[in-house]
Amino acid sequence: MAGSTRLAIALSALAYILAGLPFWWKLTEVYRVPLPYREVEGFVTKQSSSSAARVHCQLQIVFFSKEETPDRDAKWSDRLEVVLRATREWSSSGFCEIEVAVTLDAKGLCLHKRGGDRAKPLWECGRVLDSLHSQDSTSIDESLKNYIGEDRAGKYTILVLLDGELSQGGGAEAVVGKYRHAWVVFPPSLLGNDEQLTRIISETAGVLLAGGKPATAVAKTMPLAADGSAILSFSLLNADPENWIFNWDFDSVESQYLSPVVDALAPVARLSVESQVLYYTPAAARSQWNADIRSHVIESKDLSFFVNANEWHLDTSAAAAGRSKVLHFAIYVPPVEECPLRIKLSSGRITSSASIDGFTSPLMPLMQGWGGVVIWNPPGCLVADNSTLRQRLNVNDLKTTMEVVVAQLRTLFGLPPVPPRRKAPKLSILCNQRTGFAEWELDLLLRRRVIADVNSTASTLASLLKLVESLPKMVIQQEIGVQVTTSLEAAEKAMDAGNASYQVIGNFSATAKAWAEEAFFHPSIMSLLHFPKEHQFAMYTPFFVPVLLHTVISVVKETMRYARKSSRK
């Protein structure tokens, strides 16, 4: 039929272009490794929806009595049940998935009650405990450690000593030791008062499991880099070396005060220590002379200006590889015109000490990358006449300073600077004099880090996938896929670890976080090829606009013509 040839020509030109489309699509496609979208989404919702993020803990409460107890079995059974229920209130604290077992270990009587349904070896009744009389808390702590025996992260014991002679003043008293146990001295005469008993036990359990704080939904992030490491950088700042020049024996300070802390924190964080002495580093805040206490005083509101970013060249560390974190601890020696320098707290109290010699005052401008600042006033604030005083601070000079530093470190990790005491019920917490961190505190920190790591893994992976989705032209390399999968697997393993040791769980969570960060900061993502839409227009329009115009017009015209002709016939 006449005219159909021309229509065929026009259509074939269009068909040719249409046939080319899939090839064009395929050829301009970029390599994108398939990422586990659904799995990550599932993991994120699981983490955010419930308080599922927990690590297993085990708590055993043992009522111990050398004599026969006055009460009957049935009464004890009820009492154990009450205690069991009371401790459940702490089950959501301290990032613990808790299992409680309560035992009565009295002469000729052994009763067990347990909360969890898993088969765990129970307290072994009838072992002989040496007399604890005439011992102080520290040595009782040591003896009980030997008595309880098994010492494993995540397993805690509260020993309720039903012994009237141990208690001072005849009342109930609880002590949390520096290992993973606590003991409650409870006179048998008070046994009738079940409320008091459950209260003191649950308070003790709360301290042991969660540091005595109620549960917080979000784990506070720790001042650590993605790989769980941080550098503690100590700087001795001589504000004005014209007057006096101090340096320090940091080797000894490190070995005596810091190494134990660093070693103790090793399961939680990999810390390293470095030091420097800097000169000409005045503080940016001015002080005022207070004649009453004969010192210069800085108002607490001025403290945020104390750190002089222009003159304190604390520097990051070349030893810090990649994205590791540096925590600066500055020990500030004021110039002679400003000595002694003290801080007026917001409560109005001026930090002071009995003598003017060697005085430190903590202040914690907890900024990013900051550990803390300590003011160290030279003893007597005297300058030797006419000559520059050079002095080397030794271990003893810096003892108080380092105590403050450890307290600052505790605060950075989210613990109270010093373990608090409570009056009612009477509860005290023993300090670990050597490291500053009790074992149960370290467990708590580790649990918190695991949860924080897993949460951050979830959010990092989620935002990575969101980013990947939003940029369809971005190349996603094989490596990123592997990293995401590894990270997700490790995070899931950390959460489903069950009864694995804390060390294993900690490793899993650290791996998960490290790989997630690695994937997020992958160089191929960072250096995303900038290829805006305008360029695509510029590339395609010169050819395709004229060609398509011709083709489409010809098809339309030919179709109209064909239709006209065929209708005429």
């Binding site: 020049i245 340096n247 080797d251 470095e274 560390s317 070349a318």
Partner: protein, 658 residues
């Protein structure tokens, strides 16, 4: 030379490590013959070995120590230079000139104590760390096209200058092939001639000093003054014995050399020489010292040929009035005067003792003196024109006049001069090895009659630069030596051009070493003592090895030979039109679209038929009748406007959404 003196040197050279950290600051001022003033700041920090002293320091900068530990740096030298050292007017053959003269831009030499296979990667990491530390683009040196491994030029262990080395057999061809020479060399050398140097590089450099610029000599460093001078070179030298020689600790030397413009014309006696004072030069007097420095001194150096004007024979005349004599007068009296064996004088002022030091020189008589120029005046230039080929010429011309600082008294003269050339050539300059030519005094000579040793590593495109090292030996009577080599210019990818491609490409300086010419200066003072600058100045006075004295030999072993840097040459390559790719795309596409359109029309349209149809259509077009109202021009215009608006909105929406 007497024995106690010799012993003093032995002690100085083989001294045991210090037991404590030490910091010293020194400033050397020297009036230059052209009226400008040279100021050379020298700061040195020393650190005892880590095994003895530990890793916590009170003076040594933490950043540098960590750098040394992390990259296992045995030796490192980093320089930032702006301006060109004028060898003819400011001197060659004295140690300060040796320290001061550096090629424009950034130069980095590092010797690393890491396994052979890791040297390049460690070097890369080191450049990144340094660029972070000094706010400079030193990380560009990571690219393997920007650095090389010197085979001869920085090799203390390869004693090729002495007897028994490769220089021994005259007339024997020696092209060094293979890796024999490069074995065990863990030194890398790289230069960035383009790098601009400014105050942001100085601030981190000052941060490494314990007093920064708060006290002591650094208070003189007024930024506008030092950057408006004629020459500015800031260096950082690290030597660490922690990795192999555990008797030595780590030393950090920081030097800053500035050549300050002569002060504005005053009523001086000579039109050339101008009176100057510290406050006039730097804008402030010197007040006090850095309380942390063990030594804090200012030196005024009078060169040999200037000092001769003071007295006929310095060694006999010791009672010269330095404060006021017939040549000049000084604003304050020096605390000590040191005279070198060759006759130059060093007046020492201690910064701490003067509450306020404002050293100044007032000229009394017009004097003229010349600096130690060295044997040859060296220059390098590019010959040829056009964008295709050219040649590189390195020429040496004998300096006229008494340049003979290679003939120190008492040292036996030798009939020849050794010259060592190290030249790194970027890969896009394609050298032709067969065109290498040497001419002596204008006559071409047989290549291997003067070349003793040669290394020629051809470039690899985008991977490695060409490295040429040539050792020449010419007679002492030679007046001119010229080396030429021809090259073709390569083409670069469009993305390999720097941002301002039309400026041209910098050819890094050639490093020219005179291995037999060791610069050296000795002082007749018993107490050269703690001064680091003096330890440097001791190495003045060019003389010729082998020397009769073992003291010299000892010094030779520890000191570098004389080095000269050639000019940085600018080479023009064919610069593309950077919008070309888009132009090509547009042009090709337009031609193709035109072709396609006309082809389609040729296949489809029949002109005659269409005309006929359009006539018919006017009568009884079925479709056109239906769309009759479209024929109305008014309607058509409205539709066109609407269409344009729709297209515009669509495009705008698409662009804004992207």
């Amino acid at each position: 030379m007497d024995l106690p003196f010799a012993l003093a040197f032995v002690l100085l050279l083989t001294s045991c490590y210090a037991i404590d950290e030490d910091f010293s600051e020194e400033l050397l001022l020297r009036p230059l013959p052209d009226g400008n003033v040279l100021a050379h700041f020298h700061f040195a920090s020393t650190l005892p070995p880590v095994d003895h002293y530990g890793v916590h320091h009170r003076l040594f900068p933490k950043a540098i120590f960590q750098l040394v530990r992390k990259f296992r740096i045995k030796e490192m030298e980093l320089s930032f230079t702006q301006g060109r050292w004028n060898y003819q007017r400011w001197g060659v053959g004295d140690p300060i000139a040796q320290l001061a003269a550096k090629p424009v831009g950034v130069e980095l030499t590092a010797s690393l104590d890491v396994p052979e296979a890791e040297v390049d990667s460690t070097w890369g990491n080191l450049t990144h760390a340094l660029s972070g530390l000094f706010c400079a683009s030193i990380n560009f040196l990571e690219s393997p096209t920007t650095f090389l491994e010197p085979w001869f030029s920085w090799r203390p262990e390869a004693n090729w200058t002495g007897g028994g080395g490769a220089f021994d057999a005259p007339g024997v061809k020696r092209v060094v092939k293979g890796k024999k020479w490069s074995k065990s060399s863990r030194t890398r050398y790289g230069a960035l001639p383009r790098e601009a140097v400014c105050t942001e590089n100085l601030t981190p450099w000052l941060k490494l000093l314990p007093c920064r610029d708060k006290a002591g000599l650094t208070t003189l460093l007024d930024r506008p003054t030092i950057y408006s001078g004629m020459y500015h070179s800031q260096r950082l030298i690290i030597t660490s014995g922690d990795f192999d020689r555990d008797e030595e600790g780590t030393t950090l030397e920081q030097t800053l050399t500035v050549v300050l413009r002569k002060p504005a014309v005053s009523e001086g006696l000579s039109s050339k020489l101008q009176d100057w004072t510290l406050s006039g030069l730097f804008g402030s007097k010197l007040e006090g010292k850095c309380p942390l420095a063990t030594t804090s001194s200012v030196y005024l150096e009078l060169e040999e040929s200037l000092a001769k004007h003071l007295a006929g024979d310095l060694s006999k005349e010791t009672r010269i009035n330095f404060v006021d004599n017939r040549v000049f007068s000084l604003s304050s009296a020096p605390s000590r005067v040191l005279a070198s064996l060759s006759g130059s004088l060093l007046l020492e002022y201690e910064a701490g003792t003067h509450s306020e030091l404002d050293l100044g020189v007032t000229w009394r008589a017009p004097v003229d003196w010349s600096p130690a120029r060295g044997r040859f005046y060296t220059s390098r230039y590019l010959a040829g024109s056009g964008n295709a080929r050219g040649s590189i010429v390195i020429s040496f011309r004998a300096n006229d006049g008494p340049s003979g600082d290679c003939y120190s008294p008492g040292i036996e003269a030798v009939e020849y001069v050794d010259i060592m050339i190290l030249q790194m050539i970027p890969w896009y300059v394609r050298l032709y090895g067969h065109t290498l030519q040497v001419s002596l005094d204008g006559r071409n000579v047989e290549f291997w009659s003067v070349v003793r040793l040669m290394r020629f590593t051809p470039a690899e495109d985008r991977k490695a630069p060409a490295a040429v090292e040539i050792a020449l030996r010419v007679s002492i009577a030679t007046q001119a030596v010229t080396l030429t080599i021809q090259y073709d210019k390569g083409f670069l990818h469009i993305d390999e051009h720097p941002p301002d491609a039309n400026r041209g490409f910098d050819l890094p300086s050639a490093v020219i070493t005179f291995p037999r010419c060791r610069v050296f200066k000795q002082f007749q003072s018993d107490d050269v003592g703690h001064s680091h600058i003096l330890a440097v100045v001791q190495v003045v006075d060019c003389f010729v090895f082998p020397s009769p004295s073992f003291v010299f030999a000892l010094l030779l072993q520890s000191q570098r030979p004389m080095q000269i840097y050639s000019e940085v040459s600018l080479m023009q390559l064919a610069t593309p039109d950077f919008s070309m790719p888009y132009n090509v795309i547009t042009l090709t596409c337009t031609v193709l679209a035109l072709y396609f359109g006309s082809l389609l029309n040729a296949l489809r349209r029949r002109i005659g038929e269409e005309e006929r149809e359009s006539k018919e259509g006017k009568k009884a077009g079925l479709l056109s009748q239906k769309l009759k109202w479209l024929r109305n021009e008014k309607h058509m215009r409205v539709i066109k406007v609407i269409l344009v608006v729709i297209i515009g909105v669509a495009v705008n929406h698409y662009l804004s959404s992207s």
